[in-house]
């Protein structure tokens, strides 16, 4: 098949074989982690160097050709969904850790480096990279930067943005900028802070300087089962009120527990509507004092059973159950949508009561795993895309949940980003003027609207949803929901 003139010119920028245009090649890029949306791009460019990325972006700018940067395509909000009349620039091959300075505790990485690999590289020096999204074994730092991704340890350590010290990026205008650097301080406006969380609308990150932290010496991880979600929520409030600052406070509800038990053979206390996971971390002397306090608070909160991890292995098992929850829930249902709205922590119980009531009323099953310490919900809304109307019902429940989060003074997204999925809800959080302000900023970075257009901001006319979707990589047999 002969290429269109623009793709022929584009192909000339890369060595042979690194512009994918065949339908079979494009198939695995049609969706991201939000499989309800699919779109086939004109082509997928596979650069291997930062210079190639710059050349591609400058070409796109000159030709007004839309592009979508892509890491591992695990976005849960449709952030890396391709654009029909544009290309995908996939960054997986820019996967080198360029520098690791253990003495000054930072790493400079390319955008395609996998999150978990940073910690692996830092481990021999007793260091780690703190942000730990559940997808950390596959998602990239470039994707994390674009979404300001979080994880289970945000309460104490913050999100991606709190760990990014420097960014070199090619903006959608073709300009190459370098902000920040190895220092943990800066003078002048925080450009790195503005870039993180841009959802791919500003340009492409080429090099990212990450701060590394000493690994905590000691952990005390407790798993406690509760008869009711309410009790688990009250336990969270009691912990927070005590003045302790746990590294993580997580809750899983009954359906999520059922799924995790089936998937990774995790064992949870029987008859519980909710399981709470709390983790203290720090020097052993500090943890020794604080664990006594925590154990007392939990004992007083009326759990069915509280199980402190006795060793590193038991701790990892607790986290394995928690981090596999998404994919485990995936086994309960052919399809699901994950929401990640935020509510003020004190209203968690109320929020969950509403979600459960709506779930029953609308006949849509919903599992809940969430970052309780941050008030960050993660309702997993189950549906079967083959059943007519099921996706629409799932989306209707998702919409009710988002509106509730805003009404409670929270946010439509804590860490997954707005993407395509929640763009129609942005006006629930921000006024016309506020959205205009953000659009002006986007236009400063991308005057021609070529960088991931159609994401974050509401558009007229909704996208066509597909009936049923496995992740394209699953279809290709490359990944499974293990």
């Amino acid at each position: 098949m002969s290429l269109s003139p623009i793709l022929t010119r584009l192909a000339a920028l890369l060595p042979a074989g690194r512009l994918l245009t065949g339908p079979a090649q494009l198939a695995s890029y049609e969706s991201d982690g939000l499989t309800a949306f699919q779109e086939r791009p004109l082509a997928v460019a596979v650069p291997e160097t930062a210079d190639e990325v710059v050349a591609l972006v400058r070409f796109c700018h000159a030709e007004r050709l839309p592009f979508v940067a892509r890491g591992s395509g695990t976005s849960l909000s449709g952030g890396s969904l391709p654009i029909k009349e544009g290309i995908v620039i996939t960054l997986n091959r820019l996967n080198r850790i360029l520098r690791l300075d253990p003495a000054q505790r930072f790493a400079v990485v390319q955008p395609g480096v996998i999150n978990a690999q940073v910690s692996v590289a830092a481990a021999p020096h007793g260091l780690h990279y703190a942000p730990d999204p559940s997808s950390q074994s596959i998602c990239t730092i470039g994707g994390n930067v674009a979404f300001n991704s979080g994880g289970a340890h945000c309460l104490k350590h913050g999100m991606t943005s709190n760990h990014v010290l420097g960014i070199k990026a090619v903006l959608a205008t073709g300009e190459v900028v370098e902000w920040g650097g190895a220092s943990r301080e800066q003078v002048g406006p925080d450009w790195c802070g503005l870039f993180v969380g841009n959802e791919g609308l500003f340009g492409i990150a080429l090099e990212i300087t990450l701060q590394l932290l000493p690994k905590s010496e000691c952990f005390h991880t407790v798993l406690a089962g509760y008869r009711t979600l309410e009790q688990a929520g009250d336990a969270v409030s009691a912990i927070v009120a005590s003045g302790l600052l746990p590294g993580a406070i997580e809750i899983m509800d009954a359906l999520a527990l059922e799924a995790a038990s089936a998937a990774v053979h995790a064992e949870y206390p029987p008859g519980c509507e909710a399981v709470l996971i709390v983790e203290l971390e720090g020097p052993r002397e500090t943890v020794a004092v604080e664990r006594v306090r925590l154990d007392e608070i939990i004992a007083a909160s009326g759990p069915v059973e509280a199980r402190p991890a006795r060793d590193a292995e038991e701790r990892l098992a607790i986290w394995k159950g928690r981090k596999s929850a998404f994919s485990a829930v995936g086994r309960l249902s052919p399809d699901f949508i994950v929401q990640d709205g935020v509510v003020p922590r004190r209203r968690l119980g109320e929020a969950l009561r509403h979600i459960n009531a709506w779930s029953r009323e609308m006949g849509v099953r919903c599992a809940n795993v969430f970052h309780a310490g941050d008030g960050n919900l993660h309702p997993l809304i189950l549906y079967d895309g083959r059943v007519p109307g099921a996706l629409e019902r799932a989306e209707a429940l998702a919409g009710r949940i988002l509106k509730m989060c805003v009404a409670m003074g929270g946010s439509i997204t804590g860490e997954h980003g707005v993407g395509v999925e929640k763009r129609q809800y942005l006006p629930d959080m921000f006024s016309v003027d506020e959205i205009d302000c953000m659009k002006r900023i986007a236009a400063a970075f991308d005057p021609c609207s070529i960088a991931n257009p159609g994401k974050m901001f509401p558009v007229a006319g909704a996208l066509a949803l597909v009936q049923h979707g496995l992740h394209p990589l699953e279809k290709a047999g490359l990944i499974s929901r293990e």
């Binding site: 300001n148 002048g188 500090t286 004092v289 004190r346 400063a444």
Partner: protein, 361 residues
């Protein structure tokens, strides 16, 4: 003299911005160089003060930008909480908005992060005179661009902060400060670098290069920090400070009382490895004093007079170290600064009529 506007409500603030073609917002002017701009009307925020919302169980508060950080520290302290980056110049009257706009962090920055890491949301007036809210009021929010972070260090040049929401943390049960003398700047750097990589989770890690001594603070339960202090003192010679000495040490750091009154005070961002070179530069400038903070990732340099400011600038440029003058008669950016095209484009997006001065004014 610049004319001074003093709005007493958000409506008056919006009106003041709209009706003034060239205006720069100021707080208590504790970092006077940041607002030493000719030919602008000054918009004082001191009439817009007070905590609007504070719910200790949420770990968040929202306050008007003119609220003195001292008032905030007191309110948080009553509930056993604090802003972990130790806002600077509290006794001098620094405001919350000025602290954000200056991007100034205190010693506690070392452990959990700085202003940029704890700011959650802002209400601000843009150059078109619109009162806008960006970011959020909950501890976690990824909706929309992170303008609140961008405003950190933006010196009032992109908008007028009206109201700010912050995340707070529970205050540790107790603290203990150690003073560790070193031979020279290289010795100080060795201690800073080594101490930052340990299991101790230090709460603050500062140094005086003039006295060649590291000052570090531990925070947590008493038995734990006593044990850790023992281990630190077994590794390096030094001593525990009494609570009064510790109080004096950290308040001196926060208030810059070690710096030359009426002199030039410059903040620099660097890496610990650059500290010996910065110290050598300081020794070549008459009467210079130098303090490192944040484990050697930031330093404050004080000159008795502006006479050596040009040489300081040259020296910093040669070392590739970025700097900002907080007070005294020296260039705002002693080492210059990068000016990518995007910086003017974002300025134009937020302030199309150039109502606010530019970063170079």
């Amino acid at each position: 003299m610049n004319p001074l506007l003093t709005p007493a409500s958000l409506d008056e603030l919006v009106e003041a911005v709209r009706s003034t073609p060239r205006v720069l917002v100021v707080g208590a002017r504790t970092k006077p160089r940041l607002s030493a701009v000719p030919d602008v009307a000054l918009l004082s925020m001191t009439g817009l003060r007070g905590i609007i919302e504070y719910d200790p169980t949420e770990f968040t508060f929202t306050a008007l930008a003119g609220t003195p950080v001292r008032e905030i520290a007191a309110a948080l302290g009553e509930k056993g909480q604090y802003l972990p980056f130790d806002p600077m110049l509290g006794e001098a009257g620094a405001t919350l908005g000025g602290t954000v706009a200056a991007g100034l962090n205190g010693p506690g920055r070392f452990r959990y992060g700085g202003v940029r890491d704890f700011i959650l949301g802002v209400r601000f007036v843009d150059g078109s005179g619109r009162l806008l809210r960006l970011g959020g009021k909950v501890v976690k929010n990824a909706a929309g661009f992170d303008l609140p972070k961008f405003f950190t260090g933006s010196l009032g040049r992109f908008g007028v902060l009206a109201e700010i929401t912050f995340k707070v943390f529970p205050r540790p049960a107790s603290t203990l400060t150690l003073r560790l003398p070193a031979e020279d700047a290289a010795g100080v750097t060795r201690i800073l670098t080594a101490a930052a990589s340990t299991r101790w989770e230090l709460d603050a890690l500062d140094a005086s290069l003039d006295e060649s001594a590291v000052c570090t603070r531990l925070a947590g339960p008493v038995p734990a920090i006593d044990a850790l202090a023992g281990e630190i003192l077994a590794r390096w010679p030094g001593r525990k400070l009494s609570p009064e000495e510790a109080q004096t040490t950290w308040s001196e750091a926060a208030e810059f009382s070690w710096a030359h009154p009426g002199g030039v005070l410059v903040k620099v961002a660097l890496t610990p490895a650059q500290l010996p070179a910065l110290s050598a530069l300081g020794r070549n400038l008459a009467g210079a004093r130098l303090r490192a903070t944040n484990g050697g990732n930031a330093a404050f340099l004080s000159l008795p007079t502006p006479l050596d400011a040009a040489r300081l600038g040259e020296g910093l440029r040669a070392l590739g170290i970025a700097a900002l003058t907080l007070r005294g008669d020296a260039p705002l950016w002693p080492a210059g600064r990068d000016k990518p095209a995007i910086a003017s484009a974002v300025k134009a997006a937020l302030d199309p009529q150039n109502r606010f001065p530019s970063l170079d004014d």
